[in-house]
Each structure stands twice: as structure tokens, then as C-alpha cells.
């Protein structure tokens, strides 16, 4: 099963740069992780989000960044949603707000997520974006405008820096094993 484990998790960097995909409000987990591909991981990645942005799965490149609207990731608790976006190469998501379980699971998977009021109106698909994660600072390099979001809590930032919750836990246990 390709969608478990931490293979698709990228090495953490404080500052990310990439090309933007603007997403609408209320993107649900069924859009990201279509039900008909639940047991077909390759298919899921090849068809993710196509029901709302047709060329996304074909044209999204490694390192691209999603700028979303309100309630991003609403719907079911399936963790395949953030994982599929990671597999597609998405390196971070900035949105006006996130649905709770999607937000948690993204952090757990070390997929940086930042919330900023009104942000989706400030970008167009194809713009270049720079994100400073610990400062929650976002720059639209195309329009040269800066925006500031709410900083991530240190607990969450740590999970991102440690490569996700699973890796953090496995490393901690490894050390514990050595200490004994």
C-alpha cells in the first residue's frame, strides 16, 4: 500500500517557493480522494481534484502550492486526502480555513498548512508564491505583495520539522530503545 508510511513526505524547509493552484471554497475529501479510486492509489493520484480543476492532476508539478478557500478538506476522515496531494507533489496548502480532520492529518503527514483570511482572492493560478512557515508570512512574487497569517503553534511546527507525527514517534521510540 503506497498510501501508508512516510515515503511521500518531503524534507522540511522553513521557506518554500512554488507555483500556485487556486482552489475554491469547500473542497471536500471526495474531490481530493475520489471514492472510485479508494483502493487504486495510482488512479487516485492521477485523478485527484479533476472534478473541480480538470487539468490539475495532469499539470501539477512537484513543489506546487495550493491556495484554497474556506473549509478546505471538509467531508470524511480519510487521510488519503492529504496523502494524495503529497504524492501529487504539493508542498504546502495555504487556505482561508481548513476542515478539522484534514488539518490534523496534514500536520501529522508533515504537509504544511497555513490559514489566512481572504487569501484566495489575492492569487491567481500560475502566480509564484513564497511561504515562510514559522513566520506565517506569504509573498505573492508575481504581484510582489506580502500577507501574514496566524503562526503555527510550536507543537505543530515541531511535528512538521520532525518529518511528521509518525516519523517523530518512530524516532522517539528508537532513542528509547537505545537508552535501555
Amino acid at each position: 500500500m503506497a498510501l501508508t508510511g512516510t515515503k511521500s513526505i518531503k524534507e522540511y524547509k522553513d521557506v518554500l517557493k512554488g507555483k500556485v493552484w487556486v482552489f475554491p471554497d469547500n473542497v471536500d475529501t471526495d474531490v481530493i480522494s475520489p471514492t472510485q479510486y479508494l483502493s487504486d492509489n495510482k488512479g487516485a493520484v492521477e485523478h485527484t481534484c479533476e472534478s473541480i480543476i480538470k487539468n490539475f492532476p495532469r499539470e501539477a508539478k512537484d513543489g506546487d502550492i495550493i491556495v484554497g478557500g474556506r473549509n478546505f478538506g471538509c467531508g470524511s476522515s480519510r487521510e488519503t486526502a492529504p496523502v494524495i496531494l503529497q504524492e501529487k507533489g504539493i508542498s504546502a496548502i495555504v487556505a482561508e480555513s481548513f476542515a478539522r480532520i484534514f488539518y490534523r492529518s496534514s500536520i501529522a503527514r508533515a504537509l504544511p498548512v497555513l490559514e489566512i483570511e481572504g487569501i484566495s482572492k489575492e492569487f491567481k493560478t500560475g502566480d509564484e508564491i513564497e511561504i515562510n512557515i514559522p513566520e506565517a508570512e506569504i509573498t505573492n512574487l508575481t504581484t510582489d505583495k506580502k500577507y501574514k497569517g496566524k503562526k503555527l503553534d510550536p507543537i505543530l511546527l515541531n511535528i512538521l520539522r520532525n518529518g511528521g507525527l509518525e516519523k517523530q514517534l518512530l524516532d522517539e521510540l528508537k532513542d528509547k530503545g537505545k537508552a535501555k
Binding site: 501508508t4 478539522r100 492529518s105 501529522a108 503553534d153 507525527l165 509518525e166 528509547k176
Partner: protein, 422 residues
Amino acid sequence: MSGKTIAEKILAAHSLSDIEISPGNMINAKIDLILSHFGTARIVLDYRRIRPSKLRKVFDPSKIVVIFDHYAPAPNEKMASAHDLIRKFVKRQKIENFYDIREGICHQVLPEKGHIRPGMLVVGGDSHTTTYGAFNAASCGIGNTDLFHAFVKGELWFKVPETIQFVISGKLPYNTMSKDIIIKIAGDYSAEVARYKAIEFSGETMENLSIASRMTMSNFSLELGAKFAFGVPDQKVVDWIKKRTTELFELIKPDADAEYEEKFNMNIDDLEPQVACPHTIDNVKPISEVVGTKIHQAFLGSCTNGRFEDLEIAARILDGKIIHEDVRMIVTPASQEIWLEAAKSGVAETLIKAGAIICNPNCGACFGGHQGLLASGERCISSSNRNFRGRMGSTAAEIYLGSPATVAASAIKGELTDPRDY
């Protein structure tokens, strides 16, 4: 300093952090109970990655409940193997609170078996874990990686949520149910009204509702984005739980001066039965606007509305009648206990005589697993909690959500029907 909400009190009692319990702050907290269903298979695989292998233990087997409700009994070989993998894990880890395929749906079985008590902090690998709010427990769903972390360490990070309050007054009209209240809330305030927040339901209507009816509302609150969804902490909760466990507990009540982010007042004296139309749960219409819409399937079941009172009201409506010849009515009681009650009371007989098909207690049709999927172009009235495209089979099928009364009435006529006519 202002008073505390239920969520704030329960999180404070479980916090491992030296941080003030106020909305927006993050804490680490210890967990009282973890629920896991077929997603446990993923946990088993994660456990194999733990080095050194002698550390491959769950933090406390007595605080974990594993249950098979999705895909029960196994509909295919893949699921049978997953079940097998999990059964072996459960034995190895000495998890005694294991409910194999016979018991029913997690959110019904856990309270019935006495696992849920007021004041507990519960997480589950299932989004509708909010259901236990009806029992004054802070409970929410989490994803697989968080679940794995909880299995190993018994703790997780939590954001202290804002709390919103719904104060509900009035008496439910004839053949209108708590499901109609919660669907109406979705329609009026959107599927986002409680995003990442705790809900407290209160008011005279809530006090008069049965525990089962309150569970329906806490369950459906997840669809409003809620993190926790508390019912009223009263004697009814105490009496219900005392029949199920000898463990001690105390009700957690909000302070009189607790701070709510928002308060919504609602009166339901004139509430009409409500239907959530395809394909979002906040696409809500009163039944009068959709009567006559042809249906092919009527589904009565799920953790939202598969309880005895739900079957009972359906039986009352169906008594002496025959389900429309073009309709398959599928009933899945939420648990074995409910099934037995339905059998003993004659409710099951009435349903069967009317032409309903009663399945074993499980999730089945609710999430399009098995036992009642929809073909392209078909329409279903369902008592469950999700009408997303493709949820019950074909993406070209349509799901309408309504109360058990609406499901039963519609099954008779073969079209969406106002249950107040029966």
C-alpha cells in the same frame, strides 16, 4: 476570569501542558479511550515499523476498543484478510474490548457496552465519533496517523475549541424527529457553522429528547464541522449510563458565565420534516417542497438513526401497509441489542410484513460498502448522515437524507412523502 464551557473543562482535566485552557491554544492531552474499526489494519502495518520490536505495544490495552462494523461480515476476500490481520493483532496486544462482526455499529455499541462516560476524552478513527457528546464526553474523529500515535502513546495534541450554543425551545410536532432539527440547523446555518468548534445543545426541547434522539444530533453535528457536540448533561444521561457500567463518573456542566462564541436560538413548534437534498448536507428543503420525488430505495439505519425508537416509529407508520413495489426498503439496526429489542417487541415483524429487508447490524449501505448500493440514476431516501455524490454506490445516484419517519412514509408511496400524513 470568565467561566468555562464543557469542552474547556474536559480538556483542562486531561491536559499535560502548562498552557492556559482558552480557545485557540494548543495542548497535549491524555486520552481516556480510543475507538478503532477496520482502519486498525493500517495501525497493524504501522506497528511493524516500530524499532526496536520489543516496543511494539499499545499504551494501555484496556483503553482501546476495536470493533468490526464497516464490512461486517466480510463482503470479499480482501476484507476477510484485513479482519484476520486485526484479530491476530488484538490477541497479541491483549485488547479485550474487541467486538467482532456480531455487535453492530461502533457509535451505538461503545455506549451500550458502558465504554462511554461523562467527562471522558475520546478519540476515534471515525469522523462521527462526535456522537458520544450526547453522553457528556468530549469525543472526536482523527485520521490514521494520529490514531497510530494515540495507540502507542495514549496522548495527542488538541486545539482548545471555541464553543457555540444552540438553544432549542418548543415541542416537536407529530412525526417530526430530532433528525429534522439537526437537518434544519444545517440548512439554516450551513455545513460550516461549527467548523473546528464545540457545540453545546441546550434548552427545553433538548431536555425532553430521549438519549437516542440526542445521539442523532451529536452524530450529525460532525457534518456541521463540529469537533465536539455536547447534549444536555442531565439525569437522563446518568440513568442511561448507570445501567451499563459500574464505573464512577460525574456530569460536566458548563459554568453559568461560560463564554460562547455565538448563541443560536431556535423554536421548533412549527418545524416541518426536513430533507437534505443531493449532494450536500446543507442543501436542505422542507418536505413539502420535495414531495412526489420518485425513489428506488429507502434506507433505515446507520449510527445516525438505527436505534430502537427509529425502528419503532417506522413500524408504526408501516403497520398494516405494504412498501411500494418499486422500492427496496433496507433496515439495519444499529446494534445487536436493538435488533433483539425489535424482534421481541414485534417491531421487526411489522417491518418484515410490510416488505422491509432487515440486515445484520453494521455500516453496510450507509457508506456504500455493501448490502444496498445504488445504481446510476437511482434515488434513495436515507436516515444516515451523508448524501455526497457516490456515497452509496454510483456517482450518478442521488441521496436524500431525512428522518426515519420520512424514510418509512416514502417507502410506502415510492416517492418522498410527508410523514405527518400517517
